[in-house]
């Protein structure tokens, strides 16, 4: 007999595949209890969940640690949530779990977070921590309204937002790169500054009555009418994707562009080099300061786009401190997504979904649904603590660089 060097195989599947299957089973344990399946029997979720946990343990003992843990977690959550769902009245279930509006709301809530997270990624990948994303977003939100209102077109609003966000980021860049300030202090200062400047000029320009209702808004284009002609899933697809805002599509585009730029181009290699080991990058002739300036200003522009989406894309007005912590959730998404564009996007979708769900759950659960909004932060806390797969920042992130 020849001893097998590989991990034992069972019906041709590796431990990893089994674990992924376990994760899917765990999700399914919850899903069977929801519309459109709506299994009311209480034994369905535990059955599927135990299968998921079993798959998780099986793959855990065969080397696939991280997916294994995820499968176990998915199984436990699936059982718990599934049983909860079978207990709920089907009227409530049909109201809360209306998939098409939920997904569409998920994209709406995830878009500002995606912009902020992408911005934060460029900044942090180049080695500058950007706590000021929140402030840059708020600035973008205000100047988008101001530009769209005074110059009469949403396009100029977006241009104003990008310029304002870039300028604010330039302050952060100058203080934290040239003056080598503590980047956390500087970022906090940026947040305060944005709060003060936007509030001040908001009241100065618009007074107590707030922004006018007739501001030019970013249109919900392109309308994908053809989606509804697709058989079977057409109606669902049209409801989710048919009427998304232009800035949401632009966020998808930026996501792909960011991924390509950071991981497939020399520019991205330079950004990452500067963020991981600035001295080495400096030695081979990369301008550490130049790259960092560009990355931080770009991050401010992206965050401002997220703010512009909030104000002239989604709400159509501006209120004092209207971003209400979305910049921080974007930062959380970035960390949860392990400083990668698609990871951050997935996290933003998850966080956006939990926000959308929290709004829907308000009907049956009342006020307790707000606890759901804390979920992104709890997950991020778990992620940075490294309980399930550790998030590791770029090595030189947060450390000013001195030229020799």
């Amino acid at each position: 007999m020849v001893a097998r060097a590989e991990t034992p195989r069972w019906t041709g599947l590796g431990a990893r595949q089994i674990a992924v299957g376990g994760i899917l089973l765990g999700c399914f344990a919850f899903l069977v209890a929801l519309p459109p399946i709506t299994a009311r029997a209480q034994w369905w979720p535990p059955l599927l969940g135990i299968l998921a946990i079993g798959a998780g343990i099986w793959s855990l003992t065969r080397g696939a640690r991280r997916p294994g843990w995820f499968a176990i977690a998915a199984g436990i959550l699936g059982v718990g949530l599934g049983i909860l769902a079978t207990q709920a009245s089907s009227g409530n279930l049909d109201y809360v779990v209306n998939w098409a509006p939920l997904f569409s709301a998920m994209f709406v809530f995830a878009t500002p977070l995606t912009y902020a997270a992408l911005g934060g990624m460029f900044s942090e990948r180049s080695g500058v921590v950007n706590i000021g994303l929140e402030g840059m977003m708020l600035t973008g939100a205000f100047f988008a309204v101001l530009g769209a209102d005074k110059l009469g077109n949403w396009f100029f609003g977006i241009v104003c937002a990008i310029i304002a966000g870039g300028l604010l980021a330039l302050i952060h860049a100058f203080v934290s790169i040239h003056l080598r300030a503590d980047q956390i202090v500087s970022g906090t200062a940026i947040n305060f500054l944005a709060l003060g400047v936007t509030g001040y000029f908001f009241y100065k320009v618009y007074g107590e009555q707030g922004t006018p209702g007739s501001i030019s808004q970013v249109p919900d284009r392109p309308r994908l009418g053809f989606l509804s002609h697709i058989p079977w899933a057409g109606h669902f697809l049209y409801e989710v994707f048919g009427t998304l805002n232009l800035l949401i599509w632009f966020a998808f585009l930026m996501l792909i562009v960011s991924h390509i730029v950071v991981f497939r181009t020399p520019i991205g290699l330079r950004i990452r080099a500067v963020g991981e080991h600035p001295r080495a990058a400096d030695t081979v002739g990369i301008s550490v300061y130049g790259v960092r300036y560009a990355a931080v200003v770009l991050s401010g522009m992206l965050a401002a786009l997220g703010g512009a989406y909030l104000s002239i894309g989604f709400v159509g007005s501006f209120n004092e401190n209207m971003t209400a912590g979305r910049g921080f959730i974007g930062l959380a998404a970035l960390i949860f997504g392990n400083w990668r564009p698609f990871g951050a996007f997935a996290a933003a979708l998850l966080f956006g979904f939990s926000t959308a769900l929290a709004f829907r759950l308000g009907q049956p659960w009342g006020n307790a649904a707000v606890l759901f909004q804390a979920l992104p932060y709890v997950l991020t806390l778990i992620a940075v603590a490294g309980v399930i797969g550790r998030s590791i920042p770029p090595a030189a992130s947060g450390r000013p660089y001195r030229k020799q």
């Binding site: 921590v129 706590i131 302050i171 203080v175 934290s176 040239h178 003056l179 080598r180 300030a181 503590d182 956390i184 202090v185 500087s186 906090t188 200062a189 940026i190 305060f192 500054l193 709060l195 003060g196 400047v197 509030g199 001040y200 009241y203 100065k204 107590e208 080991h277 600035p278 001295r279 080495a280 300061y289 209400a324 912590g325 921080f328 959730i329 930062l331 959380a332 009342g366 006020n367 307790a368 707000v370 606890l371 909004q373 804390a374 932060y377 709890v378 991020t380 806390l381 940075v384 603590a385 490294g386 550790r390 090595a395 030189a396 947060g398 450390r399 000013p400 660089y401 001195r402 030229k403």
Partner: protein
């Protein structure tokens, strides 16, 4: 300008980086503190504050207001003019019915005295939240979680303060204060524990904890929440603190908001902060870890333990701020307060402007409290400057203070340039050796 001028001799001499350690690239938190110390006492903070107010004034002037009038209006609302009105007045001797001569009018009718009390109430809170940032800072930790720890203090303080109405006055207050400060300590210690065991950066974990506390607060005070008003079920506000848990008033009319005993506790906390850091083993270890964790570890100090302890003490201060506010003068808290309260964040500016020292924190708490109260709708005359603008001006000034504090190198450069002009005829100083 491509780099900071090389003649800036106040920079720490950076050792050549061993291997590729990225930590060697920049001064640490504690090294920055040492730079400021060498720069000579109060100069940097004072210059920072002056710059910030100057630039705030420029914004005011640029938008068509007279900055001098605006600042005068703000100061007149802080109650500080009370000190310059001397007269022939009397003051009660505590616990007796005797009165003695006093220069200032302490009577309830005096409006300036009332404003001063309000300003000092805010200064009390800011002292605590400033200490919360500063204590962690001295251990090399950046505690941005003051706001969350404050909210946890508020929630626990209100939980005990609105219930247990059968207890005696002193036990009830002690119970509430002790439990709330412990809750704040535990909340902050989560971040310290994560840093100590997994290396999770405290800035990220405290931001996350802030928002978790925010949503917990929105839940407990919201409709149907466990601490929501039991008399009016549509009101997303807590019950009032019961009389047996209200703090003693030391100055002013208890029917209005009056200065409560928390002010004295804050003063005591400043002394305790100084004493703990400078005269105890705990403080020595905390500062040692703050200056150089590796050296401290080499010297036999448990870095992990000190991270947890420093965060816990910091959280205790923030929790105290929350419970003192509730039992002292606010007596209730609502969802709207959870959303708008920023007092924990202002603590960052207080601590940094006060250079993380006891006296500095006390003084900068007074400065920021004056700014906050002087720009509130209650005191600022709208014809001089609209309070909505003024409160945003406050944010700008705070931001500028933080920016300039962060950019200490710039301030030191300006200061140095001035000194160089004064000393121009003298012999040039020896140029620094080593890395430039």
């Amino acid at each position: 300008m491509t780099d900071v001028p090389p003649d800036l001799d106040l920079e720490p001499r950076e050792p050549e980086p061993l291997a590729a350690s990225p930590t060697a690239y920049a001064p640490s938190v504690a090294e920055r503190l040492a730079i400021l110390q060498r720069a000579g006492g109060v100069i940097v903070p004072v210059m920072t504050a002056i710059f910030a107010f100057l630039m705030g004034g420029i914004v005011v002037a640029a938008t068509g207001h007279n900055p001098l009038k605006v600042y005068k209006g703000i100061i007149s609302g802080t109650g500080l003019p009370w000190f310059v009105h001397f007269g022939h007045h009397h003051i009660d001797i505590p616990f007796t019915h005797h009165q003695v001569f006093f220069w200032w009018d302490t009577s309830v009718a005096n409006n300036d005295a009332y404003n001063l009390q309000q300003m000092l109430i805010i200064a009390t809170t800011l002292t605590f939240t400033g200490l919360a940032v500063a204590f962690a800072f001295r251990c090399g930790l950046f505690n941005i979680g003051g706001q969350g720890q404050y909210l946890i203090g508020v929630i626990t303080g209100l939980w005990i303060g609105t219930k247990f109405s059968g207890m005696g006055h002193l036990p009830h207050i002690l119970f509430a204060v002790v439990v709330a400060s412990l809750a704040g300590a535990l909340w902050a210690a989560i971040a310290g524990f994560l840093k100590a065991t997994t290396g999770a950066h405290e800035v990220i974990s405290t931001i996350m904890l802030n928002w978790i506390a925010y949503w917990i607060g929105s839940w407990v005070f919201g409709q149907g929440g466990p601490l929501q008003n039991s008399f009016n079920k549509s009101l997303p506000v807590s019950n009032d603190v019961v009389p047996s848990a209200k703090l003693w008033v030391i100055w002013g009319n208890p029917a209005l908001q009056a200065l409560h005993i928390g002010f004295l506790v804050a003063l005591a906390a400043l002394v305790a902060f100084w004493f703990t850091l400078n005269r105890t083993t705990l403080g020595y270890e905390v500062r040692a870890v703050g200056f150089n964790p590796e050296a401290a570890r080499y010297g036999g100090i448990s870095v992990a333990k000190n991270y947890v302890v420093a965060m816990a003490v910091a959280g205790m201060f923030a929790g105290l701020a929350g419970v003192m506010d509730m039992l002292g003068y606010q007596y209730r808290f609502g969802v709207l307060d959870v959303q708008t309260s920023q007092i924990g964040f202002i603590g960052i500016a207080v601590a940094l402007l006060g250079r993380n020292k006891a006296i500095g924190i006390g003084l900068s708490a007074l400065l920021f409290a004056s700014l906050l109260y002087g720009t509130s709708t209650r005191t600022l005359d709208p014809s001089v400057f609209p309070p909505t603008l003024a409160s945003n001006l406050t944010w700008m000034i705070q931001a500028l203070v933080l920016l300039f504090i962060g950019a200490d190198v710039l301030i030191l450069y300006v200061w140095n340039a001035r000194r160089k002009v004064l000393r121009a005829p003298r012999a040039p100083r020896p140029q620094p050796t080593g890395s430039s």
